[in-house]
């Protein structure tokens, strides 16, 4: 048996790795995906006042601090039994959609863009944001930068600081919004909606106009028929900040819908000896291994999952895109037939981007956001709370327990990448099976196509830290497992 290791090594030792085990006849025997985890987070939280956690947990992730701030704030509200005023709810929702508008933009243009705009087989030196700019022009790059800056400005106005917001507190928000700030937010919202329209055009011109890319999205190489989970509002429309968790089966039928606080009744975690990261699965279906289908408890929690569990989008442009998405990929615009192609996640992300831009404008125009009533002091302490939001890369749960003084005794987090751990492994395996056959020479293009399978999930690798050089070097070593002899090596960024 041969073993191929795709080993992304940043300065964080023990970083994410992909192991591909190849039989002598060239067929893929198995595939493991490993990610590192930070040690001691729970111990770090225990003994601290729980209200500090919504500021500390923003440090867990350099990419989605805002998601942790919101999930944490909701969990802390619950610990104190606090109901937040309507205006505070709208402010948090507005901040969160501003964050989404920025984060989804970065992902689509910087990460997915190179694959679709430059092409998956483009040389690595061209297959990056600089290659994207070379193809679509500097104006597009300037629009991306402006959109990102607009998202950051929404966070700064409502969250008090760029990048790492600080204004959510148990019972509401700590910072009021002035009329002038509301006017600025409305202008930002208008610009964001224009950017959303531009992004729809890019999907049309670059992805849908290219038959090869549509085939790639629809191909079995990148497909998985699993359960899906995501938050929905009272009308079963996609919601990032609030609602119930809805789970649908591989055929699109509702499996269950539950209050976030009840997550432990529905989710369990499988452990494998080779990975620190657990594999959440649906408790009532059970763990049947890394397999597709209605009998396997594996689920996905991604932008595509959120679309699959919902009955539509709450804003008009996004709803039109939702219908076009399902009409194109499933032949049914209603969304009742789920889409399973992993690469369709990128288009799903654009549908959500459109929604977030429209939501920013809609909420910015709501005069209630300038209300003085943004905080109701908590009256007591419950001692336990769960907060769930949709992080851009998947469902995010914070669960805290405290003593009678609000001092943390337990903290548990399930982050988006953990939710998708089993599905990521399966997608990599499926991609590798479709691409690696007996005698296949592993080229840069092959590596990239395998990477594309997990890139669609935008997994967080021990994301509390950044990386100075920032690249993710890849080293791929093909071993003959019996002799241990190195047969082939391929490197990127090493």
């Amino acid at each position: 048996m041969k073993s191929i290791v795709i080993d992304p090594i940043t300065r964080l030792e023990g970083h994410g790795k992909i192991h591909l085990f190849i039989k002598d006849d060239g067929e893929l025997a198995n595939c493991y995906f490993q990610v590192p985890e930070l040690r001691g987070f729970e111990a770090f939280c225990v003994g601290r006042p729980v209200e500090e956690l919504c500021r500390i947990t923003t440090r867990i992730c350099g990419v989605c601090p805002d998601a942790h701030h919101m999930a944490s704030a909701k969990a802390i509200d619950a610990v104190f039994g606090a109901e937040i005023p309507s205006a505070a709810h709208k402010l948090r929702n507005l901040l969160y959609n501003g964050f989404y508008a920025s984060d989804h933009t970065a992902h689509f243009y910087v990460l997915a863009g190179p694959d679709f705009i430059c092409g998956p087989d483009a040389p690595p030196g061209e297959r990056n944001i600089l290659g994207v700019i070379a193809k679509v022009g500097l104006d597009a790059g300037k629009k991306v930068i402006a959109q990102r800056a607009n998202g950051q400005r929404v966070i700064e106005i409502i969250g008090g600081k760029k990048v790492h917001p600080v204004t959510a507190l148990p019972g509401g928000m700590s910072k009021r919004i002035s009329k002038e700030e509301q006017e600025e937010l409305i202008k930002i919202g208008e610009n964001m909606v224009e950017f959303a329209k531009f992004s729809i055009q890019i999907v049309n011109d670059v992805v849908l106009a290219n038959e090869e890319y549509v085939d790639m999205i629809l191909s079995d190489t990148y497909a998985h028929k699993t359960y899906n989970i995501g938050l929905v509002d009272e009308n079963n429309k996609v919601n990032f900040y609030d609602g119930k968790v809805r789970v649908t089966d591989p055929d699109g039928k509702e499996h269950c819908k539950y209050e976030p606080k009840d997550y432990l009744e529905y989710l369990a975690e499988h452990v494998e000896p080779y990975s620190y990261l657990k594999y959440p699965y649906l408790k009532k279906v059970g763990w049947k291994g890394f397999v597709d289908g209605v009998d396997s408890g594996v689920f996905k929690a991604t932008p595509l999952s959120r679309l699959n569990v919902s009955d539509g989008m709450a804003t008009p442009l996004a709803q039109a895109e939702y219908e076009r998405f399902y009409e194109t990929l499933a032949g049914d615009s209603s969304g009742k037939t789920p889409v399973h192609g992993t690469l369709a996640t990128h288009w799903a992300r654009v549908v959500e981007l459109v929604y977030s831009c429209e939501a920013v404008l809609e909420l910015a125009k709501d005069d209630e956001i300038t209300s003085d009533h943004i905080f109701d002091p908590p009256k007591g302490i419950v001692g336990e709370g769960v907060g769930v939001v949709e992080a851009p890369r998947g469902n995010l749960t914070h669960h805290y327990k405290t003593d009678e003084n609000g001092i943390v005794t337990e903290a548990n987090l399930i982050v988006g990448t953990t939710n998708n751990n089993a599905a990521i492994s399966m997608s990599i395996k499926r991609a590798a099976e479709g691409l690696i056959k007996k005698g296949t020479e592993i080229t840069q293009g092959t590596l990239n196509r395998i990477e594309m399978a997990f890139r669609a999930y935008d997994p967080c690798f021990g994301c509390a830290t950044h990386s100075l050089a920032g690249e993710m070097p890849l080293e791929v070593i093909v071993h003959d497992a019996e002799s241990g002899e190195v047969i082939q090596t391929a490197q990127q960024n090493c």
Partner: protein
């Protein structure tokens, strides 16, 4: 008015040795006497977000943590950012590197600094959630502070009154 010279301390104050940058920033700002032309910023960020901080500056010193595996923990690496090359392969949205961000900014016509120097400490622990630096990295703080003041005195546009 944006200050032309930036000391950009990167890192994460709750991940052991990744708190090196914030420790340097704290020491610099506690002492005071930072020249008018110089701004000291601690930022737990990377990638695109760096563009906002770098654009419009004349000279930048980045203080960070690194793991080369080729040096003892606490070793200070000093180099120009130009020795790093733009990323050839983006795998997650974390992977927008400093040189890629710089090149991207330049292509967009932003006024990016010509000179970026880096001082990075070889880390021992970047996995444990803790507010403490490991002893070897802690021991490098004083030497790094001296290097930063020396860098400031060579690059600030005014006379330096600090005697460190």
């Amino acid at each position: 008015m944006l200050k032309p010279i930036l000391i950009l301390c990167l890192g994460n104050e709750i991940v052991s040795d990744d708190g090196f940058g914030v420790e340097i920033a704290r020491r610099l700002t506690d002492v005071g006497n930072i020249p008018e032309s110089v701004e000291v910023v601690f930022a737990p960020i990377a990638g695109f977000a760096l563009l906002d901080l770098l654009a419009g500056r004349a000279k930048v010193l980045i203080v960070d943590t690194i793991r080369t595996g080729n040096a003892a923990p606490g070793t200070l690496h000093k180099f120009a950012a130009g020795v790093l090359t733009p990323s050839k392969n983006l795998t997650t949205s974390h992977q927008i590197s400093l040189p890629t961000a710089l090149e991207f900014g330049r292509q967009l016509g932003l006024d990016m600094p010509d000179d970026i120097d880096v001082i990075a400490v070889e880390a021992e622990d970047l996995e444990t959630v803790s507010e403490q630096l490991t002893p070897s990295v802690q021991a490098a703080v004083d030497q790094a502070i001296r290097f930063v003041w020396d860098w400031i005195s060579r690059n600030a546009t005014e006379e330096i009154t600090h005697a460190n």
